[in-house]
């Protein structure tokens, strides 16, 4: 974990409510895809945890959806400097992917799949990506994943773009050695049930500090109590205990 000040280099909408922000600063503490950063905003008490989409040199890319006061404030920023804690969370473990991993991202669960995809392809893996959205107007980053060299399937719930259905409908048709996923909890549960291999999934919870001090985001797992912000947000399929 490291605290740093990041300069906004780019901040633009990808869809009606999803924005991409590129920041320049010390990215040295970010060690794995699937980690997150925690951003301090004017007039708001708690920092905003946002997943890392990509890191390249001193550039940090985040993609966020406007859902409340904090993200609305971020969306309105044209320039400036942000106080950010980086290197939070465990991130995905790439060493267990096998040769043909599948990456499943749903909605704002798509961004962390990007850095993961880039790194897995960098290791010579044959990567398949499934990007799930509700409808065509919500789709983003399809081309970016294709440019990395991944085989990309887009699903929409209403069938207005790509394959009609959920990411799990695409998953059922695939042959893969391992899965990585991030998205809303109902999607994670569906992937958990549908997947035929081991895998890792990233969870989201309301956090206090984001670095393991306050115990605000604890959960129960097969291997004991864990903090989503510290021992998570990525959990292995085998350790997950669904709360309901």
């Amino acid at each position: 974990m490291k605290q740093g000040f990041f300069e906004i280099v780019e901040n633009r909408p990808l869809t009606d409510s999803v924005y991409k922000m590129v920041l320049r600063g010390d990215t040295g503490a970010i060690t794995a895809p699937g980690q997150f950063v925690n951003i301090l905003l004017n007039g708001l008490y708690l920092r905003r945890p946002i997943s890392v989409c990509d890191v390249s040199g001193d550039l940090l890319t985040i993609i966020y959806k406007v859902v409340g006061k904090g993200t609305a404030q971020m969306a309105a920023m044209k320039s400036g400097t942000l106080d950010i804690l980086t290197g939070l969370g465990n991130g995905y473990d790439l060493t267990v992917s096998g040769e043909k991993p599948v990456l499943l991202g749903g909605g704002v669960g798509v961004p962390p799949m990007y850095m993961l995809c880039r790194e897995l392809i960098g290791q010579g893996k044959q990567v398949r990506v499934v990007l799930g959205f509700n409808t065509k107007s919500e789709v983003f980053y399809e081309e970016e994943f294709k440019k990395l060299g991944a085989e990309v399937t887009v699903t929409t719930v209403d069938g207005s773009y790509g394959m009609k259905g959920f990411v799990t409908d695409a998953l059922k048709t695939m042959d893969y050695t391992y899965f990585y996923t991030c998205g809303p909890e109902p999607m994670l549960k569906a992937v958990y049930k549908t997947s035929v291999t081991s895998g890792q999934m990233s969870f989201e919870k309301r956090m206090g500090c984001g670095f393991g001090a306050c115990m605000g985001c604890s959960c129960k797992t097969i291997t004991g109590y864990k903090r989503i912000c510290k021992e998570g947000p990525v959990m292995r399929k085998e350790e997950i205990l669904w709360e309901d």
């Binding site: 974990m1 490291k2 605290q3 301090l40 708001l44 008490y45 708690l46 920092r47 804690l85 919870k205 309301r206 956090m207 206090g208 500090c209 670095f211 393991g212 001090a213 306050c214 115990m215 605000g216 985001c217 604890s218 959960c219 129960k220 109590y225 510290k230 709360e243």
Partner: protein, 303 residues
Amino acid sequence: MGRLNVNLCGIELDNPVIPASGTFGYGYEYAELYDINCLGTFSFKGTTKDPRFGNPTPRIAECTAGMINAVGLQNPGVENVISQELPKLKQCFHKPVMANVSGFSVEDYAYTCEQLDKEEQVGWLEVNVSCPNVHGGGMSFGTDPKAAAEVTAAVRKVTKKPLLIKLSPNVTDIVSIAKACEDAGADGISLINTMLGMRIDLRTKKPIIANKMGGFSGSAIFPVAVRMVYQVANAVKVPVVGMGGVTTAEDVVEMMLAGATAVEVGAANLINPYACRDIIADLPRVMDAYGINTLSEIIGGAK
């Protein structure tokens, strides 16, 4: 003696700044960021007799200038704290540490304190009779002078270490409770714990926190804390540890003027993990600005 030194119940502190229990774990998350030996001491995560997972999530809600938490005393239990956590704490912190204790019965409190009393690094016991987040738990002891005195007396019997009782602000007469604890053998009073609060999500029309209510902390509660520290410090002879919304070096000075011998910093650590280090570094500047030579001379200075 430096300008920042204070003496808390017979133990010398390099400065009065103490991260509050529940916001600093056992120190090692913060030790990744800075050398935590710059602190006066810190109060480690509230410890109970048995391991506790705590409350369901969500446990956190944001407020204007503060936050509500309902963690519910998640901790691995006193046995694991002693065998697993204290050895790790010792690696990164080399001063006497404050052990924070909670319980569900007088016997629980006494048992947990007796175990922690045997630990050499524990300098003070801070007994929490004020957790708002546990049903039938700590706060029922902290809202009644007799019950608070009963816990104090029971713990007093099992330890010779300085004993602080941490009080709740969610009471009608804080002074009577503080005095009852003093009479029962407390060496000091810590206050205030969080204020009972609640937020409701307009979209779901339900409480944000799974436990519905929780403890409100952060800079918003600072004036309430100053007032209560002032009231208690003027009513008891033992030292008072002041806390509640402290965020800056100015806040520390104000809390000491109200009567605090040492000052705990809670929620501020969660937003700025360097908060305590920064406050300590800033204290000499603030003292100079207000013509203060040593901090120990200003304790209770506001009459």
